[in-house]
């Protein structure tokens, strides 16, 4: 996990093999994929204080487990103006030598935002109103794309 709010950004330290309680399966386009349901949020918890949080869905007990949380000083202006980063699921493709990689991507990506009064809106699948499909055509090929909330690539 990479937390942009920190000077030591790599956080959490668990092997993938210890995630058995969290990895489950999901069907898409006729295939069954192993998936790791993730819920991450950033929101204001106080005057000039924000919280980054990440949760994984524990499919054994049917509930979300809080696995990471970090509170940091930031103003609304810092959080909302200028370059605030990018946030949607992505496979970054900067080189071409990938060969025979397993299918990978994201399924069912959703977003919820709050209004100026701090009231959260409903969750909804990513759409062209809040995201765009980026196609670099380097290294991987598209298996399928459900704009803008699901995609799988391989090589």
């Amino acid at each position: 996990m990479f937390d942009w709010a920190r000077s030591d950004p790599w956080q959490t330290d668990v092997p993938f093999t210890s995630l058995d309680n969290y990895v489950t399966t999901m069907a898409a386009h006729g295939n069954s994929y192993p998936v790791l349901p993730v819920w991450n949020s950033t929101w204001a918890i106080g005057a000039d204080t924000y919280r980054n949080e990440a949760l994984l869905y524990n499919n054994v007990r049917s509930g979300w487990d809080l696995v990471y949380q970090y509170d940091y000083a930031a103003t609304d202006a810092q959080q909302k103006n200028g370059w605030i980063g990018s946030w949607a699921p992505i496979v970054e493709t900067f080189q071409s030598p990938y060969i025979n990689t397993n299918q990978m991507g994201a399924l069912g990506a959703q977003i919820s935002g709050s209004d100026s009064n701090g009231v959260w809106g409903s969750w909804g699948l990513l759409s062209p109103s809040n995201s765009y499909v980026r196609t670099d055509n380097v290294g991987f090929q598209l298996v399928f794309l459900d704009p803008n909330y699901a995609f799988v690539v391989n090589s």
């Binding site: 204001a44 949080e53 959703q110 009064n117 670099d136």
Partner: protein, 77 residues
């Protein structure tokens, strides 16, 4: 303005028809147990370099927006 945690996202995975349990704090299990290593720092730099390259190729940002964004990110290397 302080606000509450967002509501839980609706599950899109196949689950038995039962209500979701309360959130359980598992941070101690997942917390980093060792200090950041030089390899961690190298991986962080590589990750940031990837983000910079992604901005350079962004089809929608203006040159000025790219320059500002890259300058901001480079302070984190």
């Amino acid at each position: 303005m302080p606000i509450d945690r967002p509501q839980e996202p609706p599950l899109v995975i196949e689950q038995p028809a039962r209500p979701s349990s309360p959130i359980v704090d598992m941070r101690d299990i997942f917390a980093r147990k060792t200090p950041q290593t030089e390899e961690d720092r190298a991986q962080a730099r590589a990750f940031i370099d990837g983000k910079i390259e992604m901005i350079r190729r962004d089809p929608y940002m203006t040159d000025a927006e790219k320059a500002a964004a890259i300058a901001d990110i480079e302070t984190r290397r």
